[in-house]
């Protein structure tokens, strides 16, 4: 009897909870829904906050109040290729060489990845049968699944000996190495976004092209490419974003020396790798520490602009589709 009553009470309680909790749950859902905006703002604010003393020269400590700290020379920061943060006499904080390092690796990887990725997307979306398409897509997803630190490891143990063997250079950790690794890493996103773009072109476009007597290739590059150009552009942009933001693989493959590169076989250092390698040693509250966060702000800004552009460009396709 007691257990029956207990059982009944328990069920009644659960039911009350389920019925009455609706406003609370809906409220939680709203908060979670807005959380994405919150996190993006929080990321910017926290990274910016840690970099602020480098810009203003004033650090606010809760216990002490405002203290004067060393200020960063912004002119040097943006235009000097000298990055010598640990020098006791005269440290230098110029990110130009790092920026050039990031750009050279990214540009080289994009030059490799875009043609290959686009070719693969065309094959997967236009020529492959259903079975082949599924298998190829799974294999390309496999590329995306390999963690970046493993890619870096591959760069060291596979590409490095291969490059020294083939080119005769003493060390194979350079732009070429990092660019190839980065190309393989950014191919999955390029393939999947451009394949989506190609498949979003209505079937009637293809039929019209073929009916006019074009062969498949003429149809692809005279009908599909122009119709899907926004999506293809977005794919390239996302590939670039991936390249600029990649950390571990470029840290391990670029050779990690601050350098204005003149050839593909020069080692460089990137913005991301600098943060990853040096933040562990930088003393909190130091100019070096704040400057590394400022590099983080620069990277955040890059990523934000690229993603915003890619998003606007993709919106462009949807609007076209409605017409």
């Amino acid at each position: 009897m007691g257990s029956l009553l207990g059982n009944y009470l328990f069920r009644w309680l659960i039911k009350q909870l389920q019925d009455r909790s609706e406003p609370i749950i809906v409220c939680i859902i709203y908060i979670c829904g807005w959380s994405a905006i919150l996190f993006v703002i929080a990321i910017f604010l926290f990274v910016f906050k840690e970099s602020l003393p480098a810009l203003t020269g004033i650090e606010t400590e809760i216990a002490v109040g405002e203290i004067e700290v060393e200020q960063l020379d912004l002119g040097e920061f943006t235009t000097s290729p000298r990055w010598i943060p640990e020098s006791a006499k005269k440290p230098a904080f110029g990110i130009l060489a790092l920026l050039v390092g990031t750009l050279s690796v990214t540009v080289f990887s994009i030059l490799l990845a875009v043609p290959l990725g686009l070719g693969a997307a065309v094959y997967v979306s236009e020529f492959a049968g259903n079975k082949t398409r599924e298998i190829l897509k799974i294999l390309i997803e496999l590329l995306a699944a390999i963690p970046s630190v493993v890619w870096g490891f591959i760069g060291i143990v596979v590409m490095n000996p291969l490059i020294t063997e083939l080119s005769g250079e003493a060390v194979g950790l350079n732009i070429l190495n990092a660019g190839i690794v980065l190309a393989l890493m950014s191919v999955p996103i390029i393939v999947s976004v451009s394949e989506d773009a190609l498949r979003a072109v209505p079937e009637s476009f293809r039929e019209a092209g073929l009916a006019m007597g074009a062969n498949r290739w003429e149809m692809i590059y005279k009908v599909l490419f122009p119709a899907a150009k926004n999506g293809l552009l977005a794919a390239v942009l996302l590939g670039i974003g991936r390249g600029i933001g990649e950390t571990m693989a470029v840290l391990m493959c670029t050779g990690h020396s601050v350098n204005m590169p003149t050839s593909l076989f020069d080692p460089v250092r990137t913005l991301t790798a600098t943060i990853a390698a040096e933040l562990g040693e930088a003393v909190r509250g130091d100019l070096h520490y704040h400057t590394l966060f400022l590099i983080g702000v620069v990277l955040f800004a890059f990523a934000f602009i690229i993603n915003l552009t890619a998003d606007l460009v993709v919106k462009g396709i949807r609007n076209q589709g409605n017409v």
């Binding site: 829904g33 926290f46 020529f127 970046s148 493993v150 933001g245 933040l279 955040f300």
Partner: protein
């Protein structure tokens, strides 16, 4: 242009022959490009596996690193990665799934929703090292979690949130509208409809997203570099303490960081150990991804609408 064949007007002309050649050529080239991407990676994976073979054994997985990582196995880092995955999942999954529910079920099509979607896209595009900086500034220092498993998990959770949100949203969108309308007509409220109709019908899709999050969390290094990963810690070799060696407050070893350290920073580590660690990581990630692919295929075969 050749002359048309008088006897058979449908006979293939030289022009068509050339056109078909071009077509076959392009098909061949693009197929070649696809394999240029895939084949080297398969060969490299095979190479890594062969080099790792001498190290791979049961004890390699279940032993702790010993003697400055030159002997023993990878149990400590492996269990650290598992704990990182689980804690970050506990944080990211509820927020991500509910955010997906909001975007698909509650949000109206207005500028604010577009702003949220844009934020999700941007969150996905923020470089992983910037997430690491954020974790250091926010969780480690501001919320005073110190460098710990909890701080690292929070950082990874924020980073993987967009994956879960996007896939949940897609999974919910694939539930047909009439299902919801029927439920509303029975007198159910919005949340009752979501709980009893929408979520059960889209659970496979949601799980796929969660699993992808797991794969990403398992592989990332940059966000945990400064938020909690450590090179080496003493942990018990057996018993309960070896199964759950790290508390939320403790710093921990992780597989990705371990590989980075033994591949670049540490001397005298046997070659096969590095390859072995890489292979275990790849194996883990591929296993997790296969589950997600399996789910997708199952989902497609089971769909009745």
């Amino acid at each position: 242009m050749s002359k048309p064949n008088v006897n058979n007007p449908f006979a293939i002309t030289a022009n068509e022959v050339r056109s078909r050649k071009v077509e076959r050529f392009v098909c061949f080239i693009t197929l070649g490009m696809t394999w240029t991407l895939i084949l080297p990676v398969l060969v490299i994976l095979g190479f890594l596996f062969i080099k790792a073979w001498p190290a791979l054994s049961v004890s390699f997985i279940f032993d702790n690193p010993e003697q400055n990582m030159t002997a023993g196995g990878i149990w400590g880092p492996l269990i650290g990665t598992f704990m990182l995955i689980i804690v970050s999942l506990l944080i990211a999954a509820p927020i991500g799934i509910l955010a997906g529910v909001y975007l698909n079920e509650f949000a109206r099509d207005n500028w604010f929703t577009r702003l949220i979607n844009l934020a999700v896209v941007n969150l996905a595009g923020v470089p992983s090292i910037v997430h690491g900086l954020f974790g250091l500034g926010a969780f480690v220092y501001f919320f005073q979690m110190q460098r710990s498993l909890l701080a690292a998990s929070c950082t990874v959770a924020v980073m993987t949130l967009p994956v879960i949100i996007t896939s949940t949203k897609e999974a919910l969108a694939s539930v047909p509208q009439p299902f919801r309308v029927a439920c509303w007509n029975m007198g159910a409220s919005k949340w009752q409809t979501i709980r009893t109709i929408v979520l059960p019908n889209s659970i496979s899709g949601i799980l796929t997203g969660v699993i992808l999050q797991v794969a990403r969390a398992a592989g990332e290094t940059a966000p945990i570099l400064f938020t909690g990963a450590m090179i080496s810690s003493r942990i018990a070799d057996s018993g309960w303490a070896s199964m759950v060696p790290y508390g939320l407050e403790d710093r921990f070893m992780a597989l990705s960081y371990h590989l980075y350290i033994i591949a670049t920073q540490w001397q005298n580590v046997p070659e096969s150990f590095k390859y072995g660690t890489a292979i275990v990581m790849i194996g883990l990630v591929i296993a997790v991804n296969s589950v997600s692919i399996g789910f997708r295929i199952y989902l497609r075969s089971r769909k009745k609408w």
